[in-house]
Each structure stands twice: as structure tokens, then as C-alpha cells.
């Protein structure tokens, strides 16, 4: 476990909010998103509240009871280890309350342990060296706070051309961020708008990633299933180089301009 942080405090309720604050900071530093961070502080709150309310006799509050929290990151998970010196008690053996129980048949309380189990990706109990030790784990990958990449934008416009061609202009970067949108738009054009002869004008596209290539291929395949085609025009030199290197020029009709496509009309020739 790395990035370890430690907190030790007397088992008194008023020490729980600062302990939650400690966990929130550690969870944020580990990269958890806001919701997962909230889950961690709630799980720690519920754990500590149970320890204080049930683990130590009232008279001993603040005298013998100590709670230790260690947080850290291990195996792409945020880990919280909560130890206390109250008598051995395994909370995981406690029966779960039933959330579909009606009002008359439910006790008002008793939700703490259930929440801990539901909010964490795993919970593990051990009794070691005369201490209860509860280990909570939240997977970071699943709950990672978004790291905003440089925003990538791509706009799509289209205009009908003679001979049932549709010119589709892409402007921007065709990468993993923008290709889902392009894929959706091209599919809609072919399936719903009834154009199967697409001229994709790439004048203003300065970057095409592998996901962008995939989108072009799937549109090409779809159009050809409908006796149409996806024809590429106006490639920037660097893009043309890439396309030739991977053999795209063997697959796609590539023209210098939409006008050349209309004049040549390769689809009607097929």
C-alpha cells in the first residue's frame, strides 16, 4: 500500500466529523470522484459511530477507546483500514435489514453496517493483536474523478449534391473523443436520412486517430451494404500519408474534391 495516511483519535462521537474530513482528503488525493468520496466518508462515519455507540460502554467513552484509521492506495483501490480496541465484534456477521420492509415492521435504525457493505466494493474484517480491524476498499478505476483532457471538438455539416450524393464536412479532430459522435451521425445519415452515397470532405480534419479510422470503415461498410459508398476527399497531406500507409487508399475511393467525385460518379460505374 502506498500514499499511506494515519489518524488516531479517542472513541468519541465529536471526533467523527474531523475523521471524515481526513478520509475525504485522502480519497480525493487518491483520485476518487465526488460520489465515491462521499461513500467513503459515509462508510467511515457509520463504522466509527457503531464502534463508539456499541463497542465501548458509555462510562468508558474517551477513556480506553481509541480508533485508528489508515488510508492508502493499493492495486488501484483506495483502502481504508479502521482499527479499534473494543471487544471483538465482526460486523459482517450482523444480519442485513431489509430495505423493502414496510414501516410497521422496520426498526428505525440498524442501517450502518448495511450501508458500509453497499457503499464499498469490498469489506473485510479481522481481529488482530486484540483489535477489530475493518478494511474497506473502493476501486479507483470505476470511480475515478474525471481528468479533463484538452477538449477536442469536431463539427459535422452536410449538403446534398447532384446524383444523390451527400457531402459531409468534418471540421476538427477525428479522435476517440469525437468519433462516437461522427459514427452516430454517419449511421443516422445512411440508415434514417436515406443517403447511401457519402462524400466525406476532410479538408478541415488535421488529425485522425485509430478510432476515427474505425468509424470511417464502419460507415463505408454500412453504405456499401446499401449499394452506396463512402468516398473521401480533400485529405491533408499528412492524413493522406497515413491512409496510404495502412492501405486505406485500396479500400476507399479518394478524390481531390467533391466536384471530382460528381464528375467521375464512381458509384454508378460499379
Amino acid at each position: 500500500m502506498h500514499d499511506e495516511r494515519y489518524l488516531s483519535f479517542k472513541a468519541q462521537l465529536e471526533n467523527i466529523p474531523p475523521a471524515c474530513e481526513f478520509v475525504v482528503e485522502a480519497a480525493e488525493a487518491a483520485g476518487l470522484d465526488e460520489r465515491a468520496t462521499y461513500h467513503c466518508q459515509l462508510a467511515v462515519d457509520e463504522t466509527c459511530t457503531n464502534i463508539i455507540e456499541h463497542g465501548f460502554p458509555k462510562s468508558q467513552h474517551g477513556h480506553l477507546g481509541t480508533i485508528d484509521i489508515v488510508t492508502g492506495v493499493d492495486d488501484d483501490s483506495f483502502i481504508i483500514v479502521i482499527s479499534d480496541n473494543s471487544p471483538a465484534f465482526n460486523p459482517l456477521t450482523h444480519d442485513d435489514p431489509n430495505p423493502s420492509e414496510d414501516l410497521a415492521n422496520r426498526a428505525p435504525g440498524g442501517w450502518g453496517i448495511y450501508f458500509i457493505k453497499k457503499l464499498m466494493d469490498s469489506v473485510d474484517y479481522r481481529f488482530v493483536e486484540d483489535k477489530n480491524q475493518l478494511t474497506l476498499r473502493k476501486a479507483i478505476a470505476v470511480h475515478r474523478a474525471p481528468v479533463r483532457p484538452p477538449t477536442s471538438e469536431l463539427t459535422i455539416t452536410s449538403k446534398p449534391l447532384p446524383k444523390n450524393y451527400l457531402q459531409v464536412n468534418l471540421v476538427g479532430r477525428l479522435d476517440s473523443q469525437t468519433s462516437p459522435k461522427v459514427e452516430y451521425e454517419l449511421k443516422t445519415i445512411i440508415n434514417d436520412k436515406g443517403y447511401q452515397r457519402l462524400i466525406v470532405n476532410l479538408t478541415e480534419v488535421d488529425y485522425v486517430s485509430s478510432s476515427g479510422l474505425k468509424v470511417l470503415v464502419s460507415a463505408w461498410r454500412l453504405a456499401r451494404q446499401h449499394a452506396g459508398d463512402v468516398i473521401l476527399t480533400d485529405l491533408q497531406p499528412r492524413i493522406r500519408e497515413v491512409f496510404e500507409m495502412i492501405g486505406f487508399d485500396m479500400m476507399f475511393h479518394i478524390y481531390d474534391s467533391p466536384g471530382d467525385v460528381i464528375a467521375d460518379d464512381p458509384i454508378s460505374k460499379n
Binding site: 460520489r35 466518508q41 462515519d45 459511530t49 430495505p99 423493502s100 420492509e101 414501516l103 428505525p108 448495511y114
Partner: protein, 115 residues
């Protein structure tokens, strides 16, 4: 740490607007406010939770206790209804199945008007 509870009397409804962090250190205050309201004979209660940014099971326990109390008063038309819980509060309500037990309204006005 503390919470604030603003209590407003309407003709037929008592509105409790709670703000702050409802946890094991503050849930007692919420319980006192609810019980005080019910003790005063007001069994139709709206809890506005829009300014509660944190709610643990200790807070839910007080809310369920109050609901059990007013619904156990036959003929009173008593109920505890919730207005505008934040996303995080709603999540814990759902986790405990309380979204099926409490009537929850998107706004204070709708909650008050529902009685």
C-alpha cells in the same frame, strides 16, 4: 459541528428546514425538533432537506422514528414528508428503501401543498 433547523408554522403543516451535516453528532438535534413538533400536536410535518449536504443512518433513524410516531396516531392525518433532498441524501434514502416509505416532493411548495 451543528445543524440548523428553521421551523415555520403553516395553517395545517409544520415546515422544518434543515441545513448542515446530519450525522451521529447532530441527529439528536433533528430528533428533538421532530419530537418537539409532534409533542406540540403537529403531526403533519414537511422536512425540507435541500440544504442537508450529508446524511448518515443516524439521521434516517430519527426521521423513521418520527414517521412511525405520527402514523401511529390514528385519525390525525399525520405524516412526515420530504421536500427536495439533495442527490446524496436521496441516495441514502434509496439505499435504505425509504424512498418507498416517505413521500418525497421536488419542492417545498409541493410538499406543503400535498397535505
Amino acid at each position: 459541528m451543528s445543524i440548523e433547523i428553521l421551523s415555520t408554522e403553516f395553517k395545517r403543516v409544520q415546515l422544518l428546514e434543515v441545513s448542515g451535516r446530519v450525522d451521529s453528532t447532530t441527529a439528536g438535534q433533528l430528533g428533538e425538533a421532530l419530537n418537539g413538533t409532534i409533542d406540540a400536536g403537529k403531526s403533519r410535518v414537511v422536512l425540507d432537506l435541500s440544504k442537508v449536504d450529508y446524511m448518515s443512518s443516524a439521521g434516517l433513524r430519527e426521521m423513521v422514528s418520527a414517521l412511525k410516531r405520527v402514523q401511529g396516531m390514528p385519525g390525525s392525518g399525520g405524516d412526515v414528508r420530504i421536500a427536495n433532498p439533495s442527490e446524496r441524501v436521496r441516495e441514502v434514502l434509496e439505499l435504505a428503501g425509504l424512498d418507498e416509505i416517505f413521500k418525497i416532493f421536488p419542492t417545498q411548495v409541493e410538499a406543503v401543498g400535498s397535505f
